[in-house]
Symmetry: C2
Subunit: 436 residues, 2 copies
């Protein structure tokens, strides 16, 4: 028979079991942390009607989507979890309780050019809080708290959450009458560290900005310090624009809430340059970087938006949310050797019968499983060496070996697979040992 | 602005959060049970190259698939988790440890005509054990044990796993030289209970079978009793065909292993009529029905196959596996009111500040979360009534109300939201109460 080559498509992550165990532990940790903050699960379809999913899309997004026809239907694979949320909230509005705190963890699809660490199918882990008409700024502080706790729970300590407020940037541009050039200005100031202040001034000048405006911009982006210092400097910078002032007040409140949460300055900072795209977000914005690896990109981003579902409903629904791209995070942490995992084995113990009759071994495995211990029972007809090789390869931490003697005496040979230590115990003693 | 109607496609399950909580608990219970038996997780892409995914497909399957082009690539959404497993094992053969026990839980896609309880996107929860060249019959008994424990863990008690061996049926048909008519014969004997023995004989006669062959078939399908009785009757039925005998021996061994596992006869039975399609399976086959609801269809099926990956590799890889269609199972158990769930709330407690300063409430929420308790912190600026309504709607079991007095005395108002009982406790006392 002619064979088909068994190949996975480029840009699609497919892990070996020992890697998958780690990946799943990370996914579960994220889920558990989201739930610790009371976020509710939803699960929307991967396939939606194109008119629904692409109501808001355009430009870059449209190019990357997986779009196809099935019969009469024009269908699209979801490319994020935000548009499905907007649909979900508008569709089920009457059955939801607001503020609606939801999490969703699932695969999304973007037909990007495959590159190392960029996937066409990847997991997003999102939380959002949606208000009905209004939404307290408190949630703008809860988001970084969840990010903080999530990364801590993942065993990560080398990260910092950078916070800004879009109104501050918008207000700054308005105050110097440079609203129409904001994209170009953002692009220039983003390079400041690379090209230096002198060149930045020169480039800003080419946009037709006068010296006073350029001074305002340079003064603004030179603001630094810890969050309270930055807030104070913003008070005294001499920009007087209502949007700027509102953004400043919002940022101050978010920082106050964060202080009340007790999060250390090591893990969060204000970065006045963060904008996160130019349409969607309207207030607080977040980006998270691994210390010393800003070049790897943000590992968790998000922000506040005025109106989640405006393409579907007239109801005003402000929200704030963040997203972790788990597939990419897994790749990045792997690259940086920052993955901390308790165990890479699903089973805690493997039961190896040395007799032909497995009954006693089955009984032992039953008892272990009833006590909540993941247990492998190896009943292939192989030599003892092959049996241990199997246990070694799967990194099972303990083995119980059961021969005629063990069945007679009810004392089982219990082996620590890592140290090689072996001793005899009753099943009850083993249960006690395994539970500690 | 013109609005797009926010609609989910027909045939796609989308649950409300309180339903999703239940669904997810079921999914997690299935996963934990699979892991208890040492199955390893894998996660293959939803999208695969059509030539890979459709190497083996044809007929009905091809009609139902979601197939499309993206650039030059002909792509297909997976329609089960077995073909991706066949690809995975062939592709990663050198890096896997055999027998390879894997589970996969994920969405699959079939463009069926939508009907109540039939979904175009649905979760499958699969386990399979794949051998390298050979595979012990022990695993044919482990499968029903995992099914049994999974349904028990889901709180279900009203089910029975029906077991058969395809070789018995094949041998039966060979022994009466009716191999070419097996599909028609199977169709006729499947109706026995409906049409009665007399009509069954008549219909079999139309196929050109002689009386002796018809007697053999009728004797065979009239075999009943508990597993040991059926095995004994099979010994004495007078069919002598090597395949029949081999199937009988295999079934006997599987039943012996099941007895060793200690599973009660209430939960498993031999059903000699079960065939599970006519190509794929080559030995043991399983179907699981809810007591008194065979009409709802099998809620967990599977079997033994000789060669998982023969479309991709020359290596012989026998396997045995089962699959739970979770979306359908959820639908069926809901219909029959058989879903037992511990709690329908993500949060165990909601902290409600009555003061404008949330600092103390944040501190309390922090402590609860640090102690592993899912905690909602309600910081919207609403009237007390609205706050409790929110907690009620989300079915949060406990509330902690924090006003000026509570902050001063450090005694918090702790309310059981179900009984309405309320009393004052320190945070340590509350932790103790919540942990019990």
């Amino acid at each position: 028979m002619e064979k088909v080559q068994p190949k996975t498509l480029p840009g699609f992550m497919e892990l070996l079991p020992e890697e998958q165990i780690v990946f799943n532990q990370m996914k579960e940790t994220i889920q558990k942390t989201y739930e610790k903050y009371g976020f509710l699960p939803i699960d929307t379809p991967v396939i939606e009607a194109s008119e629904v999913l692409l109501a808001k899309a355009g430009g870059e997004t449209e190019k990357q989507i997986y779009n196809f026809k099935k019969g009469e239907n024009d269908l699209t694979l979801r490319f994020d979890l935000t548009v499905p949320l907007a649909k979900y909230v508008a569709e089920h509005y009457n059955q939801l309780t607001f503020p609606f705190k939801r999490y969703q963890i699932g695969k999304v699809y973007r037909g990007e050019r495959p590159q190392r660490g960029r996937y066409r199918e990847f997991y997003q882990c999102d939380i959002d809080v949606i208000g009905d008409g209004e939404l307290s700024l408190f949630f703008d502080a809860e988001m970084p708290m969840v990010i903080y706790n999530t990364f801590k729970a993942l065993g990560l300590d080398e990260f910092c959450i950078f916070i800004n407020n879009r109104k501050i940037l918008e207000g700054l541009f308005k105050s110097i009458n440079a609203e129409n050039q904001k994209i170009e200005i953002m692009r220039i100031i983003d390079k400041l560290e690379k090209i230096g202040e002198e060149n930045t001034r020169k480039e800003l000048k080419t946009l037709g900005l006068n010296n006073e405006s350029i001074n305002t911009i340079i003064n603004f982006i030179n603001i630094n310090g810890n969050p309270l210092e930055i807030l104070e400097k913003l008070e005294n910078i001499g920009i007087d624009n209502p949007e700027f002032n509102l953004g400043k007040e919002e940022l101050k409140k978010v920082i106050q809430f964060l202080k009340a949460f007790g999060i250390s300055d090591k893990y969060f900072a204000i970065d006045l340059k963060i904008a996160r795209g130019l349409d969607y977000y309207t207030g607080t914005v977040y980006e998270t970087f691994i210390d010393g690896h800003r070049d790897m990109g943000s590992i968790c981003s998000g922000g506040r938006y005025n109106n989640l579902s405006d393409f579907y409903t007239d109801k005003k629904m402000p929200g704030v949310g963040i997203s972790i791209g788990l597939s990419r995070l897994y790749f990045v942490l792997n690259e940086l050797n920052l993955i901390k995992v308790e165990n890479k084995s699903i089973s805690k113990v493997i039961v190896i019968p040395m007799t032909e009759n497995f009954s006693y071994s089955i009984k032992v495995a039953n008892i272990l499983r009833e006590n909540g211990i993941n247990t492998e029972l190896y009943c292939e007809n192989k030599k003892i060496k092959a049996k241990f090789k199997y246990a070694d390869k799967l990194k099972v931490p303990y083995a119980i070996i059961i021969g005629e003697d063990e069945i007679k005496t009810e004392k089982l040979a219990f082996k620590n697979m890592e140290t090689g230590e072996q001793d005899s115990f009753t099943i009850d003693e083993i249960l006690t040992l395994l539970k500690n």
